[in-house]
Symmetry: C2
Subunit: 400 residues, 2 copies
């Protein structure tokens, strides 16, 4: 068991490693790459089942080498797992294995820094460089049965923690105090207290609890909802104010328990809230029910956005949809190892739904003076529509 | 108060903004840049006092423009704060303000992705491109009095939370359960539940609690100590095992309360621990006392490393220093907006200490069968040595 620390090389998981490789190879071919060299934590974790310091090299012949930088982290076998001190030693190591240099090499142009990419380019001076980020986004967009099992587990854990939320509330609590107690039950349920995101615009702590007009505070980040936060260093989410009767409390907390994650939002109320808010919440649920039926393989992602939008228009709720002062231009996103995976459910997204894609769909509304309402579930696309990985009661629940 | 949301443009903070600019300009000149364009969250936050979506442009004449991408986030004044839809509109906006195009433009080559940098390069086709990441690292290495005040506040909050740690322990707790209770008191003390790091190798949740031989589990990350973690997705820190008598528990938790942070480690024991561990802990304290005296402006950073190392050798503790199975090659680091700022205290670092640099110094040991020991404090360099921003009792504290 020399490679026991590269999870996907243990015998029970080798078939899973094979499946991921089989998904990757045709996409590499499609995008004209004869090899990819991966170093971002999301993609190393995806290809190895464990994050390590180093690189994963895959070529179009299906050869896959794990290059480990801190060699004493792991045992090596000299065939699939090679210890190197620095990436400059990769070409010699490939030559020793009889693997020819790539002509078209994919590097993670969207995930690694300019400096890191320039260093890697110098190591492969004769290769044309393509974008492995886009290859890996496509590859990871659909999930294997094993990944789906992990995401189902995430959903179970996240729901188990959400079941405890109502009893955590105390009168005159601030949103931050409420969030802290929710963080604790999530962590005790096994939440890693951490999740991976893609891009520069997704900074967050353990999630978002927004109440009242804080839902209407614009945020610079790429989340569906805003919130002012408690610090200009991290201007999003809970703002530290006491949650008041007549307000809603939208809870959209970290669902990462095993490296994958589910993304799930529910709304609680502090006593009675305005009918407009209740109507908008029901509209969100109606949108989800419709999309659950129509989202089958072959449908264009933008059709989901359009359908949601037309339901909102039918109900005359446009001005509250996906924000009020500032409106988000999407109603959901892929989810998996990263919180924001492909596809983004936007008016322009022409990606075709495929079986085993996972989508977080979050039609939300901001009602001035009340707060945010709406439901978010994480789904998997099946031939008969969406299967919900977060089947948790969707009704508004009163905290008083 | 049109610009009230750019914190450093409010009248009380304009002098602070001026100080940061005055620090930046000579470093730009030194590195041959006549402008920098910043987009990373750490540097936008540093230059604006608030994170926003967009860019900060600074040229060698001291002109500074905040370009906001999501315009409805903020009000604009058309002089210092300009709303744009995309970065491609920056050159026209500069022209309208009568600001000439840069000849040598610094971009954050170490922080932004290759794709983001390529996009910005196309916007300034005639500019030679330099590295604004290194400019900003140098600039942020020393702190203004205002920044030091914020870091002192971090220290106060972090110490207030650490004071509660002993009473959080319950017999037969796992390290993860203990960490979760510490996270909660930190968060209730105002911790943001979030911190910024630099580079790809610093993934973590709210900190590190390591006990027993888990301290000796190598980790792929760039932290001083390892730990196996509870998931191959995040292989660092607490591993979920019950903490046992005879073990130490090293606690190195998030100290970010306002966007800046202190970094502080203390060690608790479960009953009596081996003398070797106690000796090594005292050796760490002796190192800190010596470095506190010798670390004055003008000293080379590597001299700190060498002095620590020679004390360790005098005491014959080399094989345990900074890890046992895997040893870290540094004993501390700059700290501020990011957890790992410049300088790194390594054997090769020739940076000269300057007044108002902030350093986290963490001489730590791993004792097989017992766990990690050692103390970490965050310091500011003064003419008479180091001032401790985390003056919290350093002795081993028994949890039983």
């Amino acid at each position: 068991m020399q490679n026991k620390e590269i999870e996907l090389l243990i015998p029970e998981l080798r078939p899973e490693a094979g499946l991921r490789l089989q998904k990757l190879l045709p996409i590499m071919q499609e995008q004209g790459l004869d090899a990819v060299l991966l170093a971002s934590s999301a993609n190393v974790f995806y290809m190895a089942g464990r994050f390590f310091r180093g690189y994963v090299y895959v070529n179009s012949d299906g050869q896959r080498i794990f290059f480990l930088i801190r060699p004493n982290c792991f045992l090596t076998d000299g065939k699939e797992v090679i210890a190197i001190r620095k990436p400059e030693l990769i070409p010699d190591a490939l030559a020793e294995l009889g693997i020819s240099m790539p002509k078209n090499l994919g590097l993670e142009l969207d995930a690694l820094s300019f400096s890191d990419i320039e260093r890697l380019k110098r190591i492969f001076p004769d290769a044309a460089i393509g974008n492995a980020s886009s290859v890996m986004r496509d590859c990871r967009m659909t999930k294997t049965p094993y990944e789906l099992r992990l995401m189902r587990e995430d959903g179970e854990h996240q729901m188990a923690a959400y079941r405890k939320i109502t009893r955590l509330y105390k009168r005159n609590m601030t949103d931050v105090e409420f969030q802290i107690e929710i963080e604790r039950v999530l962590r005790l349920e096994g939440n890693l207290g951490f999740l991976r995101t893609s891009g520069n615009l997704m900074e967050i702590n353990l999630g978002s609890v927004i109440s009242g007009d804080n839902a209407d505070s614009p945020s610079p980040y790429d989340f569906a909802m805003g919130g002012a936060g408690v610090s200009p260093a991290l201007p999003c989410g809970a703002n530290g104010e006491i949650m008041k009767p007549g307000q809603t409390v939208m809870i959209d907390m970290n669902g990462c328990f095993n490296g994958w994650q589910t993304d799930m939002t529910r709304v609680w109320t502090i006593g009675d809230v305005e009918e407009l808010a209740r109507d908008a919440h029901e509209c969100s649920r109606r949108i989800l029910r419709e999309l659950e039926k129509m989202a089958v393989p072959g449908v264009e992602v933008r059709e989901l956005f359009d359908r949601a939008n037309s339901i909102v228009e039918e109900e005359g709720l446009e001005q509250y949809f996906m924000g009020h002062r500032q409106q988000a231009a999407f109603i959901g996103h892929g989810v998996g190892i990263e919180l924001n995976e492909s596809p983004a459910i936007t008016p322009r997204c022409k990606v075709l739904l495929k079986e085993n894609m996972t989508l977080a769909i979050e039609p939300k509304f901001v009602i001035p003076g009340v707060g945010a309402v709406g439901v978010e579930n994480t789904y998997v696309v099946t031939p008969s529509g969406l299967e919900n990985l977060t089947p948790f009661p969707e009704e508004l629940t009163d905290l008083l």
